[in-house]
């Protein structure tokens, strides 16, 4: 057992104990299932009895909490593969992230934005290409064989609308009417009705990729930001009871035939559930490696995520967003800033996972809704294009490109946009099948015709 296993076990025990401390507040005076000295089974049965005693008809509430806590505490959940989906928001300019330094045409298309021929580091798999200096974190991981680069991800007749293109990636189909995400449908197949953490968005609002039809999913700004004591008010003497009762009222409306009431009810219930699931993490965590210091929440969210995975919380798929990559004007500076933050944060996260000994369980999927036009515009920016760049990052990956780089000489369509060399649905289905062990064609019928890339070693 490594020292990181020790700390993991310790975190896990404290998480259970914390949840156990939360439950008796439902009804002070009841026996305290503190976790210490009790086996998990005893703890669960006692807390279940307690919740049932309090709620009678609302048995669902108590049972569900116990089940969620049980999941959090099982090694089965703790051993599960996790997918981290990171959205590079706005359509990142792939032709800058990996730029064709050897191609005179690139310099003709990009008189102001082209990077110097010697900038950044060479890309080992294709000697036409070099990494943007701000992407050094990704370059490092690629050199270590932990990155599958997708140099030109896309699909036929690509949409150049942010919303349509992003929606296609989120739902895993070129279908503007679909309302569930490709990862949400995965959770609907494998998930449980009492574990909001199975689909976690670390953001201010739910990622549509994780939108389910029936299973609960959770959203929180960061691991250590899920407390309910109102700022600036003295603590209410009945605070814990109020929270519990809000969940109870929520559960009573969750089955309403009115969709809005049902949603408001479910969310109230799931929020309370999540509050208990988070256990100690809502009060903070410690990272074994440094993360970039930034006013942007992205690195802090990743740091908290590593702690949660290490702590054995029952996560399956996680969604995050980074950057403002819609660089219609003065692209050089904003791309440099946001790419550096994204790349450095991802490197830190990977190092964190490796230090905690859980890197083999985590796959990162970086995607963006499209690439940008090869020719720059007059605002020292670039307009919407077609094929874009993506990455898969993890220790078990092959470390090889998915599709080749089409090149700005010969690889542009009639509108001057990069042509795709891999289909985004093939990559998503391959992740479902090869990483999450699911039936890709069932979850993503549109992926059926596409041959899957081999992702793992």
């Amino acid at each position: 057992m490594s020292c990181y296993d020790c700390s993991r076990a310790d975190l896990l025990r404290r998480a259970v104990a914390q949840a156990g401390r939360g439950l008796p507040a439902i009804e002070p005076g009841m026996p305290l299932p503190a976790g210490t000295g009790l086996t998990r089974r005893e703890f669960l049965s006692r807390s279940a009895g307690l919740a049932l005693a309090v709620y009678g008809g609302g048995a669902l509430t108590g049972e569900a909490f116990d089940h969620g806590i049980a999941q959090a505490a099982t090694d089965q959940a703790a051993g599960q593969n996790v997918l981290v989906s990171i959205f590079f928001n706005g359509g990142i300019d792939g032709l800058s992230v990996l730029f064709p330094a050897g191609d005179p045409r690139y310099y003709a298309l990009r008189p102001n934005l082209a990077l110097p021929q010697s900038a950044g580091r060479p890309f080992g798999e294709d000697d036409r290409l070099r990494w943007h200096p701000a992407a050094s974190g990704l370059a490092t991981l690629h050199d270590e064989g932990k990155v599958n680069v997708i140099p030109a991800a896309g699909y036929a007749n690509a949409s150049q609308s942010h919303f349509t293109a992003r929606h296609y990636y989120e739902v895993g189909a070129t279908d503007a009417t679909l309302r569930t995400g490709w990862l949400g449908r995965y959770l609907d197949v494998v998930g449980t009705p009492d574990n909001p953490l199975q689909g976690l968005t670390l953001d201010v609002a739910l990622h549509p990729s994780l939108a389910t039809a029936k299973m609960p999913v959770a959203t929180l700004a960061a691991a250590d930001q899920y407390l309910f004591a109102p700022p600036g008010l003295p603590p209410h003497p009945l605070e814990a009871s109020i929270l519990q009762e809000a969940a109870n009222i929520g559960a009573a409306h969750a089955t309403s035939s009115d969709p809005a009431l049902a949603t408001a009810g479910s969310i109230a219930y799931e929020s309370h559930h999540l509050y208990y699931q988070l256990g100690n993490f809502k009060y903070g965590f410690n990272s074994p490696v440094p993360y970039p210091s930034s006013s942007d929440p992205f690195p802090h969210r990743l740091a908290g995520l590593a702690a949660m995975i290490a702590g054995g919380l029952p996560l399956r798929v996680v969604g995050l967003t980074v950057g403002h990559f819609d660089t219609h004007a003065t692209q050089a500076a904003s791309l440099q800033r946001d790419l550096q933050l994204a790349s450095d944060s991802i490197l830190a996260f990977q190092r964190d996972l490796e230090a905690r000994g859980i890197a083999d369980r985590v796959l990162i999927h970086v995607w963006s809704e499209f690439g940008r036009r090869a020719q720059e515009n007059a605002s020292a920016g670039t307009d919407h294009g077609s094929a874009g760049i993506g990455f898969l990052i993890g220790t078990r990956l092959k470390g090889q490109m998915i599709g080749s780089f089409p090149g700005v000489t010969g690889g542009l369509d009639s509108a001057g946009n990069l042509v795709p060399t891999s289909d985004f649905r093939a990559v998503q289905a391959a992740i479902l099948e090869q990483w999450l062990g699911a039936d890709g064609n069932r979850i993503m019928p549109e992926a059926q015709p596409f041959q899957r890339p081999q992702l793992l070693r």
């Binding site: 009804e27 002070p28 309090v54 949409s159 150049q160 609308s161 942010h162 919303f163 349509t164 503007a176 909001p196 968005t201 201010v204 609002a205 739910l206 549509p208 939108a211 999913v217 959770a218 959203t219 929180l220 700004a221 309910f228 109102p230 700022p231 600036g232 008010l233 003295p234 209410h236 003497p237 009945l238 009871s241 109020i242 009762e245 809000a246 109870n248 009222i249 929520g250 409306h253 309403s256 009115d258 969709p259 809005a260 009431l261 408001a264 969310i267 109230a268 929020s271 999540l274 403002h324 219609h328 004007a329 720059e376 515009n377 007059a378 605002s379 920016g381 307009d383 919407h384 509108a415």
Partner: protein, 437 residues
Amino acid sequence: MSTAGFVAQYRGPFGKQQAERLLWRAGFGAKAGEAEALTHKGLVHAVHSLTRPAPYALSGPEPVDEHGRPIAPFDAVGHDHLFWLDRMVRTNAPMIERMALVWHDWFATSNLGVGSQRLMLNQNEMFRANALGSFRDLLLNVTQDPAMLVWLNGNQNVKQHPNENYGREMMELFTLGANRGAYTETDVRENARALTGWQGSVVNRQPTAFTFNPARHDPGPETIFGKTGSYMWTDSCNLCLAHPLHPSFFVTKLWSYFVPTPPDAATVKGLSAQYLKDGYKVLGVVESILMHPDFYNGPRMVKSPVVLNAGLLRMRGEYITSSIWWSLGQMSGQQLFYPPDVGGWDETRWLDTATYRGRWFIAALVQGADTPTDTPDDPAQIVARSIAFWGNPTVSQTTQTLLAEFARAQIKRGARLGDVETAVRRLVASSPDLQTA
């Protein structure tokens, strides 16, 4: 203006619940007695009392921060949000503010890309002035609006190299809609050329002169929707408005702000006809929507965070005395002047476990820390008093029963009566009943 006969009108009873729904969807909720008073007007006059208000006026104390100082909407972070929230709370014409909120979402501009609260608030005043007027005026105003010119790079769209950003969203988000076959990628590029010529920028948070400079304009000719001409930015707006697929886009999108279920084909057709007959005026179409059977017979809608916030303050007769509301707006998923992107907020996804927390805080902070000293030891009375605390909104029997059980259990275990009452107040405000209308 055409007022009747284009689409079906609601004929059912117009009681307290219908009036509450109208006040929440066409305003910011009901103060005590307001819904009951509205029922006496009947449907048509009730709607008109909102859509055709008396001259705009504000009542109540001016907004201040937690130190009692006047807010600084042009300069202080978040005070732009406070400025507008205050308008929502103190206005005598809530529908004007609701429509300004619709246009803020429709032409979603974020100060994240603009960098000037002054320009954002100028745009806000423009939305208010055009709240229920002509959509043509609105589109023309938006197209030359400095905040929008900065946000979608219209100020960098020059003839040598057009910047497509505004030209695309004008068609996709503002007038025609994506994936309807209304336009091609070539139309987007040609539209961008027609829109060239604007200049101006924000330097050190101060706007410079925003003007149309003919030297930056592409003389054309451009071909848009198959028609060729030497087009100006005004032509660009008019071509989109004259497009056969514009009216159906306009009425369907406007409808979505007021009714959660999509309109049927006959309704789209009727509202489109009304819109065209009215010469792109908004008022008649809005009134038809607010009187439509689907508005009253259909399911509930989740209130947006700022609508909830303003509504709870109105219900309590409270005013802006703290700057906390802007950060709670952010936490609950709606910081004014910072929509997530040019597509605006997703009205179907207000609620998740993160935004719920922001709503929880909003309810708690509007309620405040006061504890009554005369709470009776009767659960039913505690529930009734707690609902009255919020101005007597309709609360379902399901919720009321659970609240009474909760109060009974807390009294039994010896909790202080005042604490039980404040707990029930909090639970009323955070209940699914009050999160929806």
